[in-house]
């Protein structure tokens, strides 16, 4: 009886034991944040029905917590209408967030994490309401897209008495190299994307990501979701060295153009024979580097997306940024990049949303209990 309650027999037993790909739903933090970017992911934003008060939101969180435990362990949640779609070992994770408007509801106004506000519209933004805002966020990731859509379907169905979806975004990422080892992964410009992130498990990471207040939010974080369209047609017209100059890193390895290995430090002072900065004044990696931003850091986890309409394809990045404080860490960086980033010529942000990501919970608890119980 190894396979949980559903699968008793008639499942082929693998010849060698495969490593467990179950990510525990429990912990001090919601588990997906520090885990590797999933191969497949879906984000769903929902708006609360007007009848969903604080108590009702608490009931939804209890339901979702039960669902999340079952789904991550590969079992159908209670009442699943397609239970065979729940399978274990897909590294399934679910992350839940609350948009700024949740903290305008009676009984919740005193608990808003500081700095949690929708971002002001940037000069280069072309935001569409269809990709923006939302009261609740569900982010589901897994190794396998069937598991992702099944989990999303259950969670959205169980939320029906409380909230209605307003947008959905599907993305993908490859953070496994050809030898099976973890790699940073690439966006659709072909760039290695994520190198400059604070490394998980370091004090720098903890200080960047985890909030220490208000009380209920200790161990939580905030998430910025930006849907950024990338113009591959005009990008492809550039020479390789023009492409590399826009960021200040090499396409081959992701190394700084002043270095040789991916994780070499950027040399922001290096100059060429003519005295010009090697990493240009407006290079993306310079402008966003913590040394140029009073030490401000963020933790980025992108997902590539494509969106097809008939024969027309739009490509882009679902840019995800985690930080303890949106207004204090993310917004100054964004403002700076909007003003001067070389990449702006090929990128356009068409969606924007901000969420508080409550801390994790343990076996005797449930999501955001300290806020909603």
């Amino acid at each position: 009886m190894t396979g949980g309650v559903v699968a008793l027999s008639n499942q082929p037993v693998p010849a060698e034991a495969t490593p467990s790909r179950v990510v525990s739903p429990y912990g001090d933090h919601q588990p997906a944040i520090a885990a590797p970017t999933p191969k497949h992911a879906e984000l769903v934003a929902l708006n609360l029905l007007s009848s969903t008060d604080r108590a009702a939101l608490g009931r939804l969180m209890r339901l979702w917590s039960t669902d999340i435990v079952a789904l991550t362990e590969g079992r159908p949640p209670p009442g699943d209408t397609a239970p065979e779609l729940a399978v274990p070992n897909t590294a399934l994770t679910v992350t839940v967030g609350f948009g700024p408007r949740v903290f305008t509801r009676p009984g919740l106004t005193a608990y808003k994490p500081s700095g949690l506000d929708d971002l002001p519209v940037m000069r280069h933004d072309r935001l569409l309401p269809a990709w923006s805002g939302g009261d609740l966020l569900l982010q589901v990731g897994a190794d396998d897209p069937v598991s992702v859509v099944h989990a999303v379907r259950r969670l959205v169905a169980d939320a029906a008495p409380f909230a209605r979806p307003v947008w959905r975004q599907t993305g993908f990422w490859n953070s496994t190299g050809p030898d099976g080892k973890p790699v940073t992964g690439r966006n659709l410009f072909g760039q290695v994307d994520g190198t400059g992130n604070p490394a998980v498990g370091t004090p720098e990471f903890d200080a960047t990501v985890w909030a220490d207040g208000p009380e209920w939010f200790r161990g939580g974080t905030t998430l910025v979701v930006r849907r950024i369209k990338m113009n591959l047609d005009t990008w492809d017209e550039l020479t390789r060295s023009e492409q590399e100059r826009a960021v200040g890193r090499k396409l081959s390895t992701g190394a700084p153009i002043t270095g040789t290995a991916e994780h070499d430090e950027l040399d922001l002072d290096a100059r060429d024979a003519d005295g010009r900065l090697v990493i240009a004044e407006n290079a993306h990696a310079r402008l966003s580097h913590h040394s140029e931003n009073d030490g401000r850091r963020i933790f980025r986890k992108g997902l590539n997306y494509v969106h097809d309409t008939g024969a027309t394809r739009e490509s882009g990045l679902i840019f995800l940024s985690y930080q303890a404080d949106v207004a204090g860490q993310f917004l100054p960086l964004l403002t700076r990049l909007d003003a001067a980033d070389a990449l702006n010529e090929w990128t356009t942000t068409i969606g924007s949303a901000v969420f508080a990501i409550p801390p994790g919970w343990h076996e005797d608890g449930w999501l955001a209990r300290d806020l909603l119980a």
Partner: protein, 178 residues
């Protein structure tokens, strides 16, 4: 309850409905003395269907998975809940060409080393004479008693059921077993 017999649960291989429960269940209940180390039934993924939006808000049902890791059959023999005046164990049966629910004589068997799935369209714990509406996300205390003398106190979440209302709550009234 349901008028159609839908699949509703993953396990086909299990002898879910034991047609002849004639052999007395009290005999089984008395027969619990041996093997002290026999582990009791595991209860998982229990849930109760909401009364929100239901036609008849005085009754609903609880569903769950029961696993019996031991070497002899154990039966779910009764259940109680403070939210319900009456709690019965029900099965679905064909009557006049229709599926109807009725009380399950002898309780719900969990075969040795196997499972019983209480699911919509199959066996269930019927909560009747409800004392209050049950909203999605509410939690309902439920106590299950088994033939091995064990009992389980559960806190069961109330959920919306996505299958069509009419399959589940037809207009006819339940047919209690005689």
């Amino acid at each position: 309850m349901k008028t159609k017999l839908l699949m509703a649960c993953a396990v086909v291989a299990l002898p879910l409905l034991l047609s002849s429960c004639g052999s007395s269940d009290s005999a089984a209940a008395a027969d619990t003395a041996p093997s002290v180390s026999t582990p009791s039934v595991l209860v998982e993924d229990a849930w109760v269907r909401t009364t929100t939006g239901a036609k008849d808000t005085t009754m609903t049902a609880a569903f769950m998975s029961l696993t019996n890791p031991g070497g002899s059959e154990i039966k779910l023999t009764s259940a109680t809940s403070p939210v319900a005046g009456t709690v019965q164990l029900h099965e679905m049966a064909m009557k006049d060409g229709k599926m109807v629910m009725r009380e399950k004589a002898g309780g719900i068997a969990v075969p040795a080393g196997s499972h019983a799935h209480l699911a919509p369209s199959g066996d269930h714990v019927m909560l009747m004479d409800l004392k209050q509406p049950l909203k999605p996300g509410d939690e309902v205390p439920l106590t299950l008693k088994f033939s091995d003398g064990s009992s389980h106190d559960l806190t069961v979440p109330v959920k919306k059921f996505t299958e069509e209302e009419e399959h589940y709550h037809p207009s006819q009234t339940p047919t209690p077993a005689s």
